[in-house]
Symmetry: C2
Subunit: 362 residues, 2 copies
């Protein structure tokens, strides 16, 4: 039994089912190609990842992202082998609607972190990327400085049909990045749809990026994103924008007080910064550090990670139960019949469900 059906007809070549990552430079591309030719075993990959080898890390994430069943099994082996070396990190989710300057912010923030001696991995959850082939983090030139940084690793969003699948792959990639020695994991997502909730369930800290006067304040409240935020950072606080950003800070601070207190005991902070002038970037990290001091001290950090692990186990099970049912050969045509009967009020929804379930379990 496996969690995903391979779409590839042939399982002979490991190339099948893999979206090739963009090469960073010709030299690196050659290294990757050489490494690939060697067809490293799961054990080789694990050994190299633990040593901090970014090429092996890239290669293993590619295995995770593959829809080829052979790759899936190998990927699971690699994850299991990396697991004892994972978990020593802080995981930060960053969201914001298009236009708030997420890429520029992550570049400035990431560079600040590597200047403090940290190793930074940037991953993304973007379910729309299966259509647009990576609308976020896809254009790596937007993070030119960070890409070149020895202590940074940037990976675009996995593609996939469902948010669940994309999120699972990212969640697994976190483990590999941590085993590879990355101590600060940044998960980027776009401020649309349900992807924030998925990211929220895999990070320790959630950062909402905003700009002053965008008029999307109410939308943030509506979708509950503001309620999830541990900090709101108002970006583009430079030049003529500074006074507007300060005003927005006051407004968001007031709005945040209307939400119930957080279980972590943390009071969400609002701050301003400019990813261009770098003004305020250090304050963002100061806020995040303060949060981790508090949450590790009161055990919330540790407890939340345990809860998240259980959540992902249950989510995976619940998703798979549905996949198995709705793709079962005995169910597919029976489901269509019953859907029609329910539509025409010939049978109650509950009686129809009962018939389908009885056929499934018999």
């Amino acid at each position: 039994m496996h969690l995903e059906t391979p779409e590839n007809k042939s399982a002979l070549s490991e190339i099948n089912g893999i979206n090739q990552p963009d090469s960073i430079s010709d030299a690196v591309a050659k290294q990757i190609q050489q490494f690939r030719r060697k067809q490293p075993s799961a054990n080789e990959l694990i050994t190299r990842i633990i040593k901090g080898d970014k090429i092996a890390l890239s290669r293993a994430i590619t295995l995770i992202e593959s829809t080829n069943i052979k790759h899936l099994e190998k990927a699971n082996e690699v994850i299991q082998g990396c697991l004892p070396y994972a978990n020593n990190s802080v995981r930060i989710g960053i969201t914001g609607v298009p236009g708030v300057g997420k890429s520029t912010f992550i570049e400035a923030f990431g560079k600040h972190l590597t200047s403090l001696g940290k190793k930074v991995a940037v991953l993304a959850v973007d379910p729309s990327s299966s259509i647009s082939h990576g609308s976020i983090l896809g254009d790596k030139t937007r993070m030119e400085e960070l890409v070149k940084d020895e202590n940074a690793f940037i990976r675009p969003s996995a593609s996939g049909d469902s948010l669940g699948g994309v999120a699972r792959k990212t969640r697994e990639a976190i483990i590999l990045c941590e085993a590879c020695g990355f101590d600060t994991i940044i998960i980027e997502t776009v401020g649309v749809g349900q992807s924030e909730t998925a990211v929220h369930s895999m990070v320790d800290f959630f950062l909402l990026l905003k700009i002053a006067g965008a008029g999307d304040e109410l939308q943030g409240i509506k979708r509950g994103i503001m309620e999830m935020a541990d900090t709101i950072v108002i970006n583009k606080a430079d030049g003529d924008n500074i006074s507007k950003a300060k005003l927005a800070k006051t407004e968001f601070n007031r709005a945040l007080h209307l939400f119930p207190a957080k279980k972590s005991g943390w009071i969400p902070k609002v701050t301003t910064c400019s990813a261009i002038t770098k003004e305020g970037i250090n304050d963002v990290w100061k806020i995040i550090s303060d949060y981790f001091d508090l949450a590790k001290e009161n055990q919330y950090f540790q407890n939340k990670r345990q809860e998240q692990n259980q959540f992902w186990m249950m989510e995976t099970i619940n998703e798979q139960l549905k996949t198995h049912f709705y793709n079962h050969p005995d169910i597919i045509s029976l489901l269509e019949q019953n859907k029609k009967a329910v539509q025409n009020n010939e049978i109650s929804p509950f009686a129809a469900a009962k018939i389908l379930l009885e056929n499934y379990y018999k």
Copy 2:
């Protein structure tokens, strides 16, 4: 196979597993007792319900609410028999936080409807009632006039462990009420938690009851309840409150415009009323009638009901798939083991899910 595990050890008596409804009066109680002694068959119940017999209706709803497996089968038979006579109604959901005067409003509104010749059934979805034994609609004396009305039927919320179970029972009770000739079904729910979403998925029209200056405006937005509302009715617009209520009306009207347009093509209306003086109650019905004219004309009404039926079929299936898995003898202890292993980072959540699923499907 059955949809719920009976908690009763003996299935010998039909009294087991049934929460006895409060008797409306001693005379009615005696009638019910006599009727119960007769142990009517499913066919008898169907025949009597279709004739408009409220005692048979009560009795059948009690069967639906029972956790006794014998009752469940009989209940399903009754529902199936009533189905061809159901569906000729309008279903109105009413929500509002405690203190907005839901009971008084529903009494005044219900009396207005019966005065127009309508037959009104009032049901409730209140998952908290399993603890408090009916915090809403439980105290029937609060609807004294409507209870005595020949053309009204009032039933407190079913109790149950889960919102899903309570909601399903109410959803089934709607079918019986409709078969019994009730053309206007009101579903009451409290303005807390997820019960609004459940009610929204079983009604044609959603009414949000408010009072002026309660300070819960933002909370309504936060939970998306305001977004679900087809009308906001500001109650207690009497005496000194009238000007405050008018002000609130303007504010809510402005807030509603910030939400995206409804698929029904309907523009949500805000109105004021007093359940005490009856002022404005007829306007509420006018708004609802206008909505139904529009939604039936543009087929939204019919399409939404079909969608809702399918939704309930799928929901029932998805819930049952989980119930079956998590209660499976092979899974229970294995799940505990894997939960612990996941907590201690000995296994990834995904590998643990895989082990559990392999054991389940083998």
